[in-house]
Structures are given as C-alpha cells and as structure tokens.
C-alpha cells in the first residue's frame, strides 16, 4: 500500500481500477443469474430431510460409532495404545491438580496453598513480563478467591495448563516442520481446519468412548481445539522470518539446523509467544464444553447454574473464567513484547538477576507458609463478594428484562422478517445445484480454477452429508450474523483505531466478550428475544464481533502515517479522512475481519442450536444427546466443516486480492 491511493497517477491506477470494475461486473452477473434460476426453479431439488429421518450415510456413521463402542474393550492393540495415552494424560493432569487445586492424601489443601500460588505466579509474571503484570496477576488471583471459586479456578487452570503444555509439545515441533516444509504444511492445513471448525459436541461422545470419562478426555477435547493455533502460528512465525537472513546464514556455511537454531527460531520467538497466547485462549474457551464430560472447574459451575437458569451464579463463574483469561492473556502478551524489548534494549542484567533471586526466595517462603498455616492453605471464607455479584447480576438482568422486553419483539421481528426470512427462503428453496454452482462461480471469480474446485468439493460434500437444506438454513443465519458482525466491526473498529483512549476502554470489554462462556449470556438473551434464530445470531455476534473489531481497529491504526499525513495535508475533514483514506487503506483488514467474523460466527452455530436456531447446530446437539442421532450429528458437524472451509477460502481469496490491489 502506498501513497498512490491518494495521488493516483493515472497510468498506474487504471489497470487496477479496470480489474476491479470487471470483478464487480462478474459478481453482479453471477448474482442475477443465481437469483433468476433460484426463483424460477424454486422448490425443486431442495433436498429437505426430516429431523428424525436418517440417510444411509448417516446410518453408516451411526454403525461406525457403534462399532467403536463395541470393540474398544475387545481390541487389544486399541486398548493398549489408548490406555497408555489415557493413563499418562490422567496422571499429568492429576499431578498438576495435586500441586495447585486438589487436596492430596490426608491434607485439606493442595501441595501449594492459595497464598503460595498467588506469590509464585506473580513472581513468574514479573520474571517473564513486568511489575505491572505481576500486580495484575496477584489481584486477579485474589479476586478468584473472593468470588468464592478458588478451587474451581485452580482446577480450570490445571486442566488448561495440561492441555496447553501438551498442545505446545506437539504443536511447536509440528509447526516448525510446517514452517520449514511447505508440502507438509499443505498436507496438514485441512486437518487443522477440520479440528478448529468441527464442533466439539460432535466428538465429545466418541472421545469418552475411547478415553473414558475423566481428565484425559477433557484434556484431549481441549487439546484438539487448542493445538491448531499453536501449530499454525509457529509455522507463520517461521514464514515471517525474512528469507534473506536465512539465506545469508546458509551462504556463510550454516547447516540447516544451525540456520534454524541461530537464525529462524530466535527471530520467530515473539510470534511463537503470541501463538502460546492464542493456544491458552483457545483452551480456556473449551472450559464449559469440557465440563459436559466432567471436566473439573469453573465450567461445571456454569453448566450447573444453567439447569436452574441461575443467571447470577453462572455469571459469577463466567467472571472467574474471564479473570483467568485476562490474567493469562496479559501475561503472555507482555511476555511477547518483552521478547522484543530484550532484543533492542540492553536491560540491566545484574539488577534484574538480584530481583529475580529475591522474588524466588519470597515465593519459596510463601509456599512454605501456605503449607504451614491454614489461612494460607485454603482460601479463607466462602467468597466475600461472589454472592453479591450473583445477586447484582440477577437484579440487573431482571431490571433490564422488565424494561426492554417491550422493544425486543420489534427488533427480533425486524431482523427476522427483514433479513433472515427472505435470505433463508431463497437459500432453502433454491435447487441445490443452482446454489452450488453459484458457490463454485464465486470461488472461480475470486480465486480462479483452484478455488472453484475446492468449492465444488465442499458443495458435493455437503450434499453427501444429506443435510443440504439444514446447511442452507444455517448459512442464512450465518450470513446475517456475519453481516451484522462486520458492520459492528467497521463502526467500532474505526472508532477504536482512531482513538487510543477508546481502545483502552473498549478492549477489555472485547476480551470479555470473547472468553465469557456463551452459556452465561444465553439465558438473559433468551428472556429478551425468545428461542429464535435472532437470539442465536445475537450470541454469535457477541462472540464474533470482538475479533472483527480488533482486526479492523488494528488495520485502521496500522494505516501508514505517510498516508494519513498526506490526507491531512490535503485538508480532508474527519469523515473524508475515514471514508476516503483510512477505510480504503485498511481494505485488507476489512477483508480479514470479514473472514474471521464468519469463522467465529460458524463456531457458534452449535450454541445457536441450543437457543432455537435449528439447522445444523440443533442436529449436532441432538446427536450428542441421543444415541440414535449420533450419525446425523456427525454428518451435521461435517457439513459445518465443509461450509466453514468453503466460506473461509473464499473470503481469504478476497482478502488476498485486496492485498494485491493495495500493493499496486
């Protein structure tokens, strides 16, 4: 991206402009043709399927799952291999639990009591980050105790740590391989997509079939979701290392290993730490779902509170998860920027070392304390502020519901009749081949022949799952949610991107939106908007908008100063500046935030199924709950993955295009 955006020398921008208008032309042709045939042939070949009916493929999936269930105990190789994995993960997790959360033997406190943990973790935070973060960690941890969830929080932390450590042990070396060998990366990418987009509900039951009920299953479920970011970001980190420095190292006679160790990894370190951060966040987002198969910790409290629609308690526990997330996120983020700082600033090592030793001694004393004194072992009291928070939350939601319920119907109806219904009616009534060809066409327009092939494979795959009609219903809601998400992303992203102060205030709220378990806000939403697709869309937006906003804000803030300066110099007003300079320059960020918006919205399809959205999400949930629908749930999960991959690739192609154009 360069200043040509402003001063457009005619000879350079003409081809780009021509290309863009050609693209617009093709897109409008495609839309018209699609609408024409969709309406002309409506009702033909829409492939509907009753909720309780099964296709042969789905029956076959059922029998596969049955077969696994019946043979798990009888097949010795199976049991041998899996038992080893299970036992080692189990002892790993319980080991951590005994250190930080569960009483061991005849004691009433774990190996390290709360006081020891607070001091030790604050010290670690200081060592990897700075004193501000250390204070944040200390106060966050104490807050968990005050909420009345010390042990639950530590259980959650133990499980998260176990999953993250395993994800890193597996993910970083594989990520390095992917970074070094493009072919391996190509091979592994669809698997990672699969692991990230496949709804967890789908494999919750099979995992317990293999690994039985217990920490191992919970850890593996979390691992499946947390591993991809670790692997991907490590690969990206290696890609980011300028090839020129690797080449220089090789030209001086380094072996491949030396180049990796001395040149690539040190430079990739910062991004890898960012990957660790993402891994931790991903693991934390699985806390509530893993609780469905008995994962210990805060998730259980949330699920339990949901049974009696106890908004207060579920919020109380959700807050615990948010605090844990903020503490871990800020620590790893600060650690990442410290990696940067260490590179350029010569920190006074000697003083630093003295402080580290002092801190170590202090932690040690605190740990001893926590083993001698009861007050330092078990968090005193039963949570001083927890029940108050629950009570205030209840009051606030009641007030809100009482006052807003008169407007909510209007909103629900406006969005439903105005957006969702028309879109859903077009998509579900159009013949599958018309919509399918439209998708392939989109793929070809944006990504050429290759993307066309990917799209057609996805379309045929979805048809193969037997759930085309449900997929189209889900797609309609997904699109509406994505549109709203992107709109919110642009509005807030521009605002935050332009104002540091807004950024500082809004960001924590965005973080909370991303990690607060959806279960916590589903009940109030249900109260306001009923069991409707709109409620599902709303839940999806709460989860997806933060990512969209952040990407957009980073894009706006990242518009090079030369461009904004030129804009100011040209005398642009604030709005001209936003519309004519900043938004066009952040085109790639816009495309990326759309891409991420859609992926995040898709991640909430299952949650949507829990609040009345129907479609694939409901089928996945039903498959988890009913043995006879397991195969259908699996098929629905598969359809979500295929839809996800297709939408992801198309939006990524759009993003890549806007980069290219931007560079012209």
């Amino acid at each position: 991206m360069s200043t040509t955006l402003l001063s457009r020398p005619s000879n350079e921008s003409k081809p780009a402009e021509k290309k863009r208008s050609k693209l617009g032309f093709r897109l409008s042709i495609l839309t018209c043709v699609f609408l024409f045939f969709a309406i002309l042939l409506r009702g033909i070949a829409t492939l509907p399927l009753d909720t309780s009916s099964l296709t042969p493929f789905q029956n076959w999936l059922n029998s596969v799952s049955d077969w696994i269930g019946n043979n798990r105990t009888s097949n010795p190789i199976f049991t041998f291999f899996i038992n080893i994995i299970r036992d080692s993960i189990n002892s790993f997790v319980t080991g951590i639990q005994y250190v930080i959360s569960q009483p061991i033997g005849n004691n009433s406190a774990p190996l390290i009591g709360w006081f020891g943990i607070v001091v030790l973790l604050s010290f670690v935070a200081y060592a990897v980050a700075n004193i501000r973060i250390a204070i944040l960690v200390a106060s966050g941890l104490v807050a968990l105790g005050l909420l009345g969830f010390w042990q639950e929080s530590m259980d959650t932390l133990a499980l998260t740590l176990a999953a993250v450590v395993l994800a890193l042990i597996v993910g970083i070396p594989l990520g390095i391989c992917a970074g070094l060998f493009p072919r391996f990366e190509k091979l592994i990418t669809p698997l990672l997509d699969f692991a990230q987009v496949m709804p967890t509900f789908v494999y919750l039951t099979p995992v317990t079939l293999f690994f039985l009920i217990g920490p191992a299953s919970a850890t593996i479920v979390t691992l499946v979701y947390a591993l991809p970011p670790a692997l991907r970001i490590t690969a990206v980190a290696l890609h980011e290392v300028p090839w020129s420095s690797v080449e220089a190292a090789i030209s001086m006679g380094s072996t491949r290993m030396q180049a990796l160790r001395k040149v690539q990894l040190p430079q990739a370190k910062r991004t890898i730490v960012v990957g660790i951060n993402q891994t931790i966040m991903a693991a934390l987002s699985m806390v509530t779902i893993a609780a469905l198969i008995d994962a210990p910790g805060l998730g259980k409290v949330v699920i339990r509170a949901l049974e009696s629609l106890d908004i207060g308690s579920s919020f109380q526990a959700g807050l615990g998860i948010v605090i844990l997330a903020v503490v871990l996120d800020r620590t790893t983020t600060a650690a990442a920027s410290k990696v940067d700082a260490e590179m350029t600033l010569a920190i006074s090592h000697k003083r630093h070392r003295q402080i580290l030793i002092a801190g170590g001694v202090l932690s040690f004393v605190a740990i001893i304390f926590s083993r001698i004194f009861t007050w330092a072992g078990n968090f005193p009291g039963t949570g001083f502020i927890g029940s108050d928070i629950a009570k205030y939350t209840d009051n606030a939601t009641n007030w809100f519901q009482a006052h807003f319920v008169n407007y909510t119907d209007g909103i629900t109806n406006a969005v439903s009749y105005g957006l969702i219904n028309p879109l859903q009616s077009i998509l579900t009534n159009s013949p599958w081949f018309v919509t399918g060809i439209a998708f392939v066409g989109l793929g070809i327009i944006f990504g050429g022949k290759k993307l066309g092939i990917i799209s057609s494979v996805c379309v045929l795959g979805i048809v193969g799952t037997g759930l085309w009609s449900d997929t189209m219903a889900t797609l309609a809601s997904t699109l509406v949610a994505a549109i709203l998400t992107v709109a919110i992303g642009i509005i807030f992203g521009v605002w935050i991107g332009r104002s540091k102060r807004a950024d500082r205030i809004i960001r924590p709220i965005l973080d909370a939106g991303q990690v607060l378990p959806a279960f916590v806000y589903l009940v109030p939403f249900l109260g306001l908007f009923g069991a409707t697709r709109f409620t599902a869309i709303l839940a999806a937006i709460v989860y997806a908008a933060p990512a969209s906003i952040k990407l957009m804000a980073d894009g706006i803030a990242g518009v090079p100063a030369t461009i904004t300066e030129a804009g100011i110099a040209a005398g642009s007003s604030k709005w001209q500046m936003i519309i004519k300079v900043q938004l066009p320059s952040a085109r790639r960020a816009l495309a990326l935030s759309t891409n991420q918006g859609i992926i995040y919205v898709l991640a909430m399809v299952v949650v949507g199924g829990l609040v009345g959205a129907g479609g694939l999400g409901y089928l996945v949930v039903a498959g988890f709950a009913q043995i006879s629908l397991t195969g259908k749930g699996l098929a629905a999960g598969l359809a979500i993955v295929l839809l996800g991959i297709m939408l992801d690739r198309i939006t990524q192609a759009i993003a890549a295009r806007s980069t290219l154009q931007g560079n012209k």
């Binding site: 420095s245 220089a248 001086m252 006679g253 380094s254 040190p266 350029t344």
Partner: protein
C-alpha cells in the same frame, strides 16, 4: 594477465528456470518466447539463460543489467544458494555442482562469501555477533572471533557500533555490516550483489576505494554486481552485461563502450563519458588521402581524456603508433565527436 592462468571460477552453459518443470523449458521452442509470453504460457521464468564465462584469479568481474535481468539469480547460482537448472560450475577446477552438502558448507565457510543486495542481516543479533556469525559456526572461540570482528568493523568504518542492533543503523551502515561480515572470514572470492546501492556518495567512494585496495593488496577475486556504469568501470577488470537472463556482452569497459554488441548495450553505455574509457586505439582512423603525417606520436593505450590536451593543442593530426607501426591518426575533430557522443 587474464588468459595466462587457469580460471578461478568457470561457468558453462548455466540455466536457471523458475517455476514448475524447469528442465522441460530448456531446449524447447518455448525457451525462445519473451519473458511475459513464457510466464503467461507456462508460468516459468528464465532468470539465467545459457550463461558462460570465466573469472580469473584476482580479477574483479562486474555483472550489469537492468532490474530483473537475472544478476542476483546468477550470483546465487554461483554460490549454489539456488540450484542452477542446468550447466557447469567450477571453482579452481572443482565441480561445484557435484560436491556434497558438507564440502559445500566448507567452501562457504572458508573460501567464498557474499554481500547481499538486501543486506540479509540477522536482526536479533548485535552488529558484532552478525559479523562474527560465520566465525561462530566455524567454531572460533568467543574472544577470538570478537577481536577479529572488531577489526573488520573498524575496516568498514563502523567502530563504536558493535553493540548496536541492525535496525538501529541506517541503510548504508547496515550495508557496511554486510560487507564486514563477508570479510570476516578472509575469503578468497567475494560475491557482492549491489553492495553500495544504499550508500551515500561519499561513503560509496570510500567503500569503492576499499574494494580496490582489497583487490590490489590482498588479491581477492570478486564478482561484483552493480547498476552503476561508473562504478563498474572504476572497479571492473571486465564487465558482463545481462539482458533477460542472457549475457549479451562480456568485455573490458573500453571494449563495451567502443564496440557495444547491440542497441541494448549501446543504450547502457550511452550516457557514460566515453572519453574516460576509450583509448586512442579505438578512435584512430586510417589517414585520409593527403592528410599531413608529421604530427606528434602517441601510444594507443592512452585514454582520450588524457590525450585531449595534446591533440587539441596540436595543429597536425596525431599519429597513433604501436611498436613502430602506425595504427591510425586522430584529430581534434575526432575527439570532439567522442566527447559529444556522435561518434560510435
């Protein structure tokens, strides 16, 4: 001087084709398409096309050409940072394309080093550790490699910056770090890919002087890429001009200016003050009938610039003589033609 010895480096029929199935392009009619046509048709790019030349020990061999003509690719092929698609490459007679990884690393560690167009510094290492990198992987102890690194850092005029990180330096300073790094192992052959493009004119002149010194005092062999004809003429014993991957002409600066092989080369050298490189040999012409043959005598090896004064001051045509043979005559009109560029 050039023909008498066995070459240090010899390149024969070297090709580098980027894209899928590179082998199939060579010898195919497709190879004769223009770059754009080939790219559109097969997606391949011929970056180096059937290049052959020798570099003598102690020679400074300059490669020139427009952007994208394949200079960087050629020099990367010569150090096997890129595997050539086809061809032969010998270094002191050793077939480099056949040696194994280990021997290749040994050669890279000790015999040749490279300065990169885009610096290729290691951003996470201080200047001194950048310069000492190759010594480090050679297993040289820390204090020893640091003292050696400090020497070369001083040599390139960066004393006092050893503890800085590359991004704290200006572009020109970074390029000098690259140069220092290449010099640290005391290599026999230096490959320099536009090493001075990022430097300001003053430092550039100093660095050029440094290269000349290295060349003369230490007898280093160099393959030097540049865009700048003045630099090429100043440093180069011979210059190769590349166009779309192929070498269109190799010769001394004088030969190129005097006898450009085609319009491309002519274009290249057009703006260059020819009088600086052309010797009288090139402008001497057979005497016209009735021309006065009693003018002063000058040798053919003197450049026009250096001879201008005498030629202009003499009323009679100058006779250019070598070993007692008359090569031709030169008048002030001929000199004027050279300087104004209408000649040749």
């Amino acid at each position: 001087m050039l023909d008498s010895q066995a070459p240090m480096i010899s390149v024969r029929n070297m090709w580098k084709v980027f894209g899928a199935n590179p082998e199939q392009i060579i010898g195919n009619p497709d190879a004769d398409l223009t770059r754009q046509e080939l790219r559109a048709k097969t997606g391949n790019t011929i970056a180096v096309r059937d290049v052959s030349f020798d570099v003598a020990p102690g020679e400074v061999f300059v490669v020139m050409g427009l952007s994208g003509s394949g200079k960087s690719t050629l020099v990367r092929c010569m150090t096997r940072l890129i595997e050539p698609t086809r061809g032969e490459l010998r270094f002191e007679g050793e077939d480099i394309l056949q040696v194994d990884e280990k021997r290749l690393r040994e050669l890279r560690k000790t015999r040749f080093s490279m300065v990169f167009q885009h610096f290729g510094l290691l951003p996470h290492r201080k200047v001194i550790d950048n310069v000492a990198y190759s010594l480090e992987i050679n297993g040289v102890g820390k204090s020893e490699r640091h003292s050696r690194a400090n020497e070369v850092i001083e040599l390139v005029g960066l004393q006092g910056y050893g503890q800085a990180y590359p991004e704290q330096l200006s572009g020109g300073m970074q390029q000098r770090v690259g140069l220092a790094r290449a010099l640290a192992v005391d290599p026999q052959v230096l490959f320099l890919d536009e090493p001075f493009s990022a430097l300001d004119p003053l430092i550039r002149r100093d660095m050029q002087a440094e290269v000349i010194r290295l060349h003369h005092q230490l007898g280093k062999t160099m393959v030097f890429i540049t865009h700048d004809l003045a630099e090429a003429v100043k440093l180069g014993d011979r210059i190769a001009i590349m166009r779309d991957g192929a070498v269109v002409q190799i010769g001394t600066p004088e030969e190129l200016v005097a006898k450009p092989a085609d319009d491309y080369v002519a274009n290249f050298v057009r703006d260059f003050p020819k009088s600086q490189v052309l010797t009288l040999r090139w402008i001497a012409r057979p005497p016209a009938i009735g021309e006065d043959m009693n003018g002063p005598i000058l040798p053919p090896t003197i450049t026009v610039n250096n001879a201008t004064r005498q030629i202009v001051e003499s009323n009679l045509p100058i006779r250019v003589m070598e070993n007692g043979n008359l090569l031709g005559v030169v008048t002030s009109q001929d000199v004027l033609n050279v300087i104004s560029g209408s000649e040749l």
